[in-house]
Symmetry: C2
Subunit: 203 residues, 2 copies
DNA sequence: TTCGGAACTGCAACGTGTTTCTATTATGAC
DNA sequence: GTCATAATAGAAACACGTTGCAGTTCCGAA
């Protein structure tokens, strides 16, 4: 099964190619931020990134691949800015809630972008497994780090239990974001639901 | 905001109209069952339901509305068959796992249908809020009933706590189904993840 | 520097969800 | 039964994701 994946930064030999990739993702984020999922139109992305449509499809084999890759980059950028300081809070539950509140506020600060990224993530099918997996790992890492707090050491594998808990919380977080993005819940309800879930799951 | 909703059975005056609606949903389920989300093509649904394309759109304003309505009907049918007998199991956790196992097996018995219905559910935007809400209510009802067990009485409002728990479990259940449908998790992993979550949330 | 292949451009075309429009048919008030 | 109105059929057209292709440009090996 040679599923066609998105080209990652490492796949790309020349600086010009890495720059093309960057421009494409920048254009994607910009368009998503302006009008959500529907505004991310492949022709528009190509034009704004100053790249031919065919080239766009060579880098990202579908709109969903494109958006999930954009999500991965966003996530990575955010995490690299935050992950130096330890997560504040005395209990796992406090720390997880702190992290999620931060992340949720970030997402809610740009509803259109969140719309585009979460909808793509939820709609992704098997062909996007690789890209999805990247995001899943990032999310798990963020949450297990918060669960462990001071006890966290770089590179160490979290326990199965912690991973299971992290997965449950990610599931709830994603669903909650979807509910918010689609107007089925307010920002407050969303935050509350997430925190309730965290308290239920963490002791 | 007068969002256009799907026509429900009660909206429809004549028997001929209710029959058209039924034929449309039958065709939707049949096509979904054969080829999943992509196979539910509006022209194909219209043809198989013996209805003009414009009529199909009068009954269901989009493919997503159509599929989520189909999901609601499926859910309702299943529940009405099951909800007479009490849920077996001595603890809330056992009962919820029983119910979810049943439901999950049902979904996994028809992967294509599940693909179509869950993907539609997750992709739905604000305009589908009404239809989504129906399904959410059904799911909550199923779960709170399982949580309460013998103590359940028809028509009584479940406690806030039980509703919160039910929502967390639905979130996880849906995410797990999506992972399974998109080939990111096997049936066993899916079942295991769901049961882990239930045990975490229910004491 | 030259050459061959890979990458890129520009553009046309296709499939499917959605919209629109006109002609026809069913329905309900009188 | 007649008429006004709503519902439906049928078909064309549009929008956007995706594919295919001919020509051009870039890049590394010789």
């Amino acid at each position: 099964m040679t599923t066609t994946n998105s080209l990652t930064a490492e796949d790309l030999g020349s600086a010009a190619q890495r720059d093309r990739r960057r421009r494409i993702l920048d254009a994607t984020i910009a368009l998503a931020s302006k009008g959500g999922f529907d505004a991310v139109q492949m022709r528009a992305v190509a034009e704004q990134a100053d790249v031919a449509l065919g080239t766009l499809y060579r880098y990202f084999p579908s709109k969903i691949h494109l958006l999930v890759s954009a999500l991965a980059r966003q996530f990575e950028d955010t995490q690299s800015m935050v992950s130096r300081k330890p997560v504040p809070g005395d209990t796992p539950s406090e720390r997880v809630i702190y992290v999620l509140r931060r992340a949720t506020r970030g997402m809610q600060g740009d509803a259109n972008l969140t719309d585009a990224l979460t909808r793509a993530f939820m709609f992704a099918d098997a062909s996007v497994a690789t890209e999805i997996h990247v995001v899943g790992m990032q999310m798990t890492a963020m949450l297990t780090r918060a669960i462990k707090g001071e006890a966290y050491v770089e590179g160490e594998q979290p326990s199965d239990e912690d991973v299971a808990i992290a997965r449950v919380i990610s599931d709830v977080w994603l669903s909650a974001l979807v509910s918010w993005v689609t107007g089925r819940a307010t920002a407050e309800e969303t935050a509350e639901h997430i925190e309730t879930a965290v308290r239920l799951v963490l002791r």
